[in-house]
């Protein structure tokens, strides 16, 4: 095995108005051919900048120092032209968003052939043949015909396959994948990860996978580098890292992820606080402010990444002065590093489900969009059924989760409920009141009191021109609450969701992502609703922040006796938070029932495929698991009867 890439003390900084941003502060690693290095970290940890620095794709204003040896050649200090030759013949990159990494005006074939011929001369015929071969290799059916297709004719997963084919085109020695599956659905993600494995086998390349998903790391990586605030804080082979974790940050990351394979409900462990700004960092452990076991010595100087001996007897380095005190179970001196938060038990759970009142009921909910044709006079030529007659009920104090991949109709279902659309052959009832009975605006407003929503994007859901106080108070004024009551209520709500009421006249920009989501939750609770609709409330947040918000939702549910209608694509989160779950596929429910029943004993093949596709953050389980992979295209799981 030869070392393909050797990085030593890589540092990258950018000038900014607030001062110099030290995005990467000393990264070193070696990568051998055929091996995979996983770089994990939250947003802003410097993992993407590291990969861009290796590719030589950073802006001119970035200051790079250290050493990057690729295949025996030093890359730092080379001109863009020289780098371009090295890149073209030896490195390939797979980007996050397959929708924008292909040029829309050229055919797939043209782009593949360009990748093949730009750095080496090759007869046209041979290039064509090789391109077709590559497409077949990445599993695109009818490759010959698809060569002439344009990117927009391909789905997201298919496009990522083409991107991988292009990456493989020149037999690279190194493939860098920057969040290659983040933009994809889980079943597609499983296929793409499988494919990248194959690509690596085929080319024998070294691979760098950058991701925030511990499950993906557990599945693909040989070695793992955990980054925090621009610096590696823990580096070890994958099993060592997962089973003999030593750095409190890594322990926190692993504890913060909900597990799809865990039955018992334990509260997630949030890491308090936010990552530091990378400007003028003091000479102290950057994690100290968030670390539950920080001591005075942590603030004296920044700890180095030093090797540590564990029972695993492998190369394991940690940047923590207390690493030797921590044992394999994440305990220090007999106590867990992270104290487990307590979530109060709801008195409602003692009442059997059937005896609790129904708060939200949907009967035969349907929605179809007309297909229009004609430029001037549009006529209807058909219909697309986005939601095909689904029925469900949510009872007091319970969470119903609707899971499905993009295009399954879950968002349309939500909008039907939130818009209070009268149904032709069905009904939507909120707290027993049917939407068909709404005669005027006063009655509608009365109904809206009981039904509130929390959105996915914590930034987009808050009006940037309004202070937090105005945002939270808005629903109260809409139902005609007096200003004095509103003052009390805003204070109460901000305390309830864990924000300081003194910050109420700040604007949303002054808050971090997790805090903004808390503001959104406070607004949803303003009118004391019975049902809260949660539209992917945590999918835009980093894992350590996500855990805090999930715990808050759990706590609020038991404290206030709320019902949640939870829409998500992340099954692990659903398993953690939901009582009942409905799996949606192409507009209808293919499976619907108690969460444990559905997750432990799935009946429908689509549910099975979905569950098996989720990477579990545990390398041993993840690598021995049997996987049900859906066929690439044209598969219709709804046609397969449930057995």
């Amino acid at each position: 095995m030869s070392t393909v890439l050797s990085v030593r003390d890589l540092k990258v900084s950018f000038p900014s108005e607030a001062g110099r941003v030290d995005a990467v502060r000393g990264v070193s690693f070696d990568l051998e051919a055929g091996k995979t290095l996983g770089i994990v970290g939250e947003s802003g940890s410097g993992k993407s900048v590291t990969s861009l620095a290796i590719m030589g794709l950073l802006d001119d204003n970035a200051k790079i120092s250290g050493s990057i040896m690729f295949d025996g050649k030093e890359l730092i200090g080379k001109s863009d032209k020289q780098l371009s030759v090295i890149r073209g013949n030896g490195m390939a990159m797979v980007f996050q968003d397959p929708l924008t990494s292909l040029t829309p005006v050229f055919t797939i074939g043209d782009q593949l052939i360009e990748a093949l011929t730009v750095h080496r001369s090759m007869p046209k015929k041979q290039a064509w043949a090789r391109a077709v071969e590559l497409l077949q290799l990445v599993g695109i059916p009818e490759a010959e015909r698809r060569m002439k297709a344009f990117p927009h004719e391909f789905s997201g997963g298919m496009r990522q396959r083409v991107v991988i084919a292009i990456a493989m085109a020149n037999d690279p020695k190194l493939i860098i994948a920057d969040e290659p599956t983040t933009a994809l659905d889980v079943t597609i993600q499983a296929q793409i990860l499988e494919l990248m494995d194959k690509a690596q086998e085929e080319t024998g390349a070294a691979m760098m996978i950058i991701t925030h998903d511990m499950g993906v790391v557990a599945k693909t990586a040989d070695d793992v580098l955990v980054m925090y605030a621009g610096k590696p804080v823990e580096q070890a082979p994958v099993r060592e890292l997962f089973y003999r974790t030593r750095m409190p940050y890594s322990i926190g990351l692993l504890g913060a992820i909900p597990r799809v394979d865990k039955t018992e409900k334990v509260p997630l462990i949030p890491i308090k606080g936010n990552p530091p700004l990378l400007i003028n960092l003091p000479d102290a452990c950057p994690f100290a402010a968030r670390c539950p076991i920080a001591i005075d010595a942590c603030l004296q100087r920044e700890p180095e990444l030093l090797p540590i001996t564990t029972e695993g007897h492998t190369n394991h380095s940690v940047a923590c002065i207390r690493a030797n005190d921590i044992d394999d179970d994440g305990m220090i001196g007999g106590l867990p590093v992270y104290p487990v938060p307590e979530i109060p038990e709801s008195p409602l759970t003692r009442t059997p489900r059937e005896e609790r009142p129904i708060t939200l009921e949907a009967v035969n909910l349907s929605k179809s969009f007309p297909l229009m044709k004609g430029a001037l006079f549009k006529r209807k030529v058909g219909e697309v059924h986005a939601v095909k007659g689904i029925s469900f009920d949510v009872r007091q104090g319970e969470t119903l989760a609707i899971v499905g991949e993009s295009g399954s109709g879950k968002t349309t279902t939500l909008l039907q409920i939130m818009d209070l659309v009268p149904q032709e052959n069905g009904d939507i009832r909120i707290g027993g009141k049917s939407v068909a009975d709404i005669k005027n605006r006063t009655e509608e407003r009365e109904l809206r009191r009981d039904l509130q929503i929390v959105f996915q994007d914590p930034m987009g859901a808050l009006d940037p021109r309004m202070t937090v106080w105005d945002i939270i108070a808005e629903p109260m004024f809409a139902i005609g609450m007096s200003k004095d009551d509103a003052f009390d209520r805003v204070e109460e709500l901000m305390g309830l969701v864990g924000l300081d009421p003194a910050h109420s006249d700040r604007f949303p920009q002054a808050f971090s992502g997790g805090q903004r989501q808390r503001i959104g939750i406070a607004r949803a609770l303003a009118t004391n609703p019975k049902v809260v609709v949660l539209d992917e409330p945590v999918s835009a947040l980093d894992v350590s922040i996500q855990a805090g918000v999930i715990n808050l939702l759990d706590e609020l549910k038991s404290k206030l006796g709320l019902s949640y209608l939870f829409v998500a694509h992340d099954l692990a989160v659903v398993r953690h938070i939901a009582d009942r779950v409905a799996v949606m596929y192409k507009g209808s429910f293919v499976e619907h029932g108690d969460v444990d029943q559905v997750f432990d004993d799935p009946q429908h093949p689509y549910t099975k495929a979905l569950l098996s596709a989720i990477p579990i953050p545990d390398p041993d389980i993840e690598r021995t698991r049997e996987r049900i992979i859906l066929p690439v295209e044209g598969f219709d799981a709804s046609a397969v009867a449930a057995n």
């Binding site: 009191r449 021109r465 202070t467 924000l499 920009q509 607004r523 009118t527």
Partner: protein, 305 residues
């Protein structure tokens, strides 16, 4: 400003006694006043307005008085800004002309901004037939030769400044900004906070006024300043062509038009009204800059209180 995140459920130590909250208005004022340029703009504008109001009162001559002993005289202690060929006192004329121009400009700018904002934003928010009708009107207005209509009507009205202003609002001013506001509002309508407001039970008009208009605030402010400038310039062109305000009424445009023909022999007749016009537009631009920064949470003020 370091914000520390708080755990799942902190205890609130004590309730703040006072119910005072920084209101949006005080917040905006505080931010606006921090801006040096904006303050300078305000000072210039106030001085101009004072000059336009007090000038005619302290001047020994009214703007219609003719002093046959002083025809086309340079500025002196008798006539502070000089006189023109007919013996009119230039100081009084500039003051009255500025008064007229400010009135037209502010009326037109406020009118067009309000109409274009309401029409553009409501068309985007409510959609449907209302949106289609509004767009047809806007597109129709865009192809009509507005300036000709304006010239004809104002000539017929005998140069009445109020008629000119109204025509400038309804025939010339509002539809280009309205079209721009419509396109911007279309993307705003799909923002989640607009959905959130709708699901909170707010009425359509309140969503437009409370959420959509503030979020295109910087555009409205720019529209307003540009509106002031174009209104003054349009009125100037009209008067220059002889279709604007008629004697004995004067405006800056009419004065500049008159003064430009005697630029060499009697430069004071051009420079005084031209200086007043320049100061007016510059002060408006400075104020607009400050307003935009004060209203915009993402500006240099950075959402600070």
């Amino acid at each position: 400003m370091s914000l520390e995140s708080i755990g799942v459920s902190p205890e609130i130590s004590e309730r703040p006694k006072s119910r005072k909250r920084t209101s949006m208005l005080t917040l905006y004022t505080r931010r606006f006043l921090r801006n040096r340029g904006a303050l300078l703009g305000i000072v210039i504008l106030v001085l101009l307005v004072l000059f336009a109001i007090i000038g005619p009162l302290i001047s020994p001559y009214s703007h219609t008085d003719l002093d046959f002993l002083a025809l086309r005289q340079a500025p002196s202690s008798e006539h502070w800004f000089g006189t023109n060929g007919s013996g009119n006192d230039n100081f009084a004329q500039v003051a009255v002309g500025l008064q007229r121009s400010i009135m037209i400009a502010v009326l037109v700018a406020v009118g067009t901004t309000i109409i274009s904002a309401i029409v553009g934003a409501t068309a985007a928010y409510f959609g449907g037939a209302y949106e289609r009708i509004m767009l047809v009107i806007i597109h129709f207005m865009m192809v009509v030769p507005n300036f000709l209509i304006l010239a004809m009507i104002s000539n017929d009205a005998g140069g009445n400044w109020l008629v000119i202003s109204l025509v400038m609002i309804f025939i010339v001013g509002w539809f280009f900004p309205a079209r721009i506001i419509w396109t911007l509002s279309l993307s705003l309508r799909e923002r989640e906070y607009i959905h959130a407001a709708r699901y909170a039970g707010l009425s359509g008009m309140r969503i437009v006024i409370r959420h959509m208009l503030p979020n295109i605030g910087s555009l409205l402010v720019i529209n307003f300043t540009l509106g002031v400038v174009t209104a003054v310039l349009t009125e100037t062109s009209l008067s220059f062509l002889g279709f604007g305000v008629k004697l004995p009424d004067v405006s800056l445009g009419a004065l500049i038009g008159y003064g430009s023909s005697t630029l060499v022999s009697a430069p004071w007749l051009f420079f005084f009204p031209a200086a007043a016009l320049t100061l007016l537009t510059v002060s408006m631009a400075l104020i607009a800059d400050g307003l935009r920064d004060a209203l915009d949470p993402t500006s240099a003020a950075g959402g600070r209180a």
